[in-house]
């Protein structure tokens, strides 16, 4: 019975597709999968916006939106109606074609990234052999659309915001890739389905998730940092900081296009959390072996929502980093740590089973983390303050 609940979406799809003649079945199956993705993830996006506004509100000692539904749950519907009916202003000097294409491109690319995430047992839209590479290729393409948005507005602030955003995204792409490469190295495959299956084994009731290994934990931390920077979220959200650059690269967008950008950004957040759970937290596998009766997709979505909640929590808690601090952090600290992590993972593989490798690998990682943190990231020491008074 529980296997049926697990595979219920696949069974549904097979039943629906069974109505069509055999030649059309596979294509129709794929189309149904796409419809499923388009239905589910924006639904999650709506829940995320409510969660974020209420959560941030509570962290800032105020209530979030509470007018629209009970506890403000229907807020996303109000937002959608508002953005659809707002006037769509395009500046006179703006490049109309590029201005129009930028949000469309962003949303298309982010949706394509969802195609390779294994949502449940046997439930992945496209089982590609190099699924992870495809995902990162899509991630790299989002930068182009951000640049298009910033450039086409013919606005100095938008352009500056776009350049800063692109620089930040490029710098953090390398740590993102490198921390995922460690996982690929240990699994031996770029296919996301195989990565999840490799984590689906249990020993003494605890699963073999990669986050429970020292190199996996370090890689997860670095992946989380790089992921928040990739999606321009706090504390790395200088490009869209309200107090810095009006709204950064989407200053000139209003109405539906702004809603598309918003959608694209939150969907990117969801998709990167999805990838993070697939790589590190075990995808759709259950935390304890006894809990395997719960359908796998419930585990996947709950883990994704957990990561999103952590992202929102971090946004409400940490102050924003300045651009040069951000880039400094990326190139001088995160990148060497990811390289070191690669070597530690290789060491782990060569040391064979046993408790010794846990101790040694953890020790290396912690020592370098603390040491490099103290030495490399030392703040400049300012002298005592001198005051200059207006004469």
């Amino acid at each position: 019975m529980f296997e049926k609940a697990d595979q219920v979406f696949l069974l549904l799809r097979d039943w629906l597709v069974g109505f069509l003649p055999p030649g059309w079945r596979s294509a129709a199956g794929v189309v149904l999968g796409v419809i499923g993705i388009i239905a589910v993830f924006p639904g999650l996006f709506a829940i995320t916006t409510v969660l974020e506004r209420k959560g941030l509100g509570r962290m800032q000692n105020r209530l979030g939106p509470n007018r629209v539904g009970p506890f403000g749950i229907l807020q996303p519907i109000a937002d959608a109606i508002k953005s659809l009916t707002k006037e769509d202003i395009v500046p006179l000097n703006a490049d109309a074609v590029v201005h129009f294409l930028a949000p469309v491109f962003l949303v298309v690319v982010v949706f394509m990234g969802f195609a390779v995430l294994p949502v449940g047992r046997n439930m992945v839209l496209v089982n590609m052999d190099s699924g992870l590479l495809f995902y990162f290729a899509m991630g790299a393409s989002t930068e182009v659309s951000i640049f298009m948005a910033g450039w086409s507005s013919r606005n100095k602030y938008s352009l500056l915001g776009a350049m800063r955003a692109v620089a930040q995204m490029i710098s953090y792409e390398v740590p993102l890739l490198l921390s995922s490469v460690v996982i690929v190295m240990m699994t031996g495959s770029l296919s996301l389905v195989k990565i999840v299956e490799a984590q689906n084994q249990y020993s003494w009731g605890l699963p073999h998730w990669y986050i429970f290994t020292p190199w996996g934990c370090a890689a997860f931390v670095m992946y989380a940092v790089a992921a928040t920077a990739e999606t321009n979220r706090s504390p790395f959200d200088l490009p869209e900081g309200e107090s810095e650059l009006v709204a950064g690269y989407f200053t000139e967008y209003s109405g539906f296009k702004f809603a598309l950008f918003f959608l694209g950004e939150y969907l990117a957040m969801l998709s990167i959390s999805g990838l993070g759970t697939t790589l590190f937290l075990g995808g759709w596998s259950a935390p304890l072996a006894v809990l395997n009766w719960v359908p796998s997709w419930i585990w996947f979505f709950s883990k994704v929502m957990l990561s999103i909640s952590v992202l929102i929590w971090v946004r409400g808690t940490l102050p924003r980093l300045r651009q040069d601090q951000l880039m400094n952090f990326a190139w001088k600290f995160v990148l060497p740590m990811t390289l070191l992590n690669l070597m530690v993972a290789a060491l782990w593989r060569f040391m064979g089973d046993g408790w010794a490798r846990w101790v040694i690998c953890s020790a290396i990682l912690l020592l370098v983390y603390v040491g490099a943190g103290r030495v490399g990231m030392r703040r400049e020491h300012f002298g005592p303050r001198t005051y200059r008074y207006a004469e």
Partner: protein, 167 residues
Amino acid sequence: MSFVFWFLAAIAVAGALAAVLLKNLVHCALALTVVFTGLALLFLQLDAQFAGFAQILVYVGAVAILVVFAILLTRSSETPKDGGVFSRTWMAGLVIAAAVFAVLGWAVLQSEAGLPHETAVPNVTVQQIGNALMGRYVLPLEIVALLLTAAMVGAVIVAMHEMGDAK
């Protein structure tokens, strides 16, 4: 060949023409991005999955952005004040390009006569690529790594040195 091929080929050629003919440089860069994507899709159609995704990742994700940054940093995004955007010797360039196209087209058409058109679909897994990289192609791999390092250091020095000069 198939409809998909013609469609993608049309997109790539249109993008290429746009990239070299448009007045506004940023439009040219965006057309270049379209060409890269079209080519990547063509690679995918030819069953070269790794090359296609690597093309998107490297070219669209990095090189296109590099070109755009360079356009912005050299302020070439404003329209040129005098003359057109084509150099004075444009006719010679066109003639040379047409001649090269003729020669290349002739060479390709000549060689196509002896090709077996339908081989079995090569199912190239990433593991095979990895094995090949570590096995047969280790030397090119190391040399490319050295080249990339040298290029990186060189680019930084070239860009940085001038900043010290301009002070």
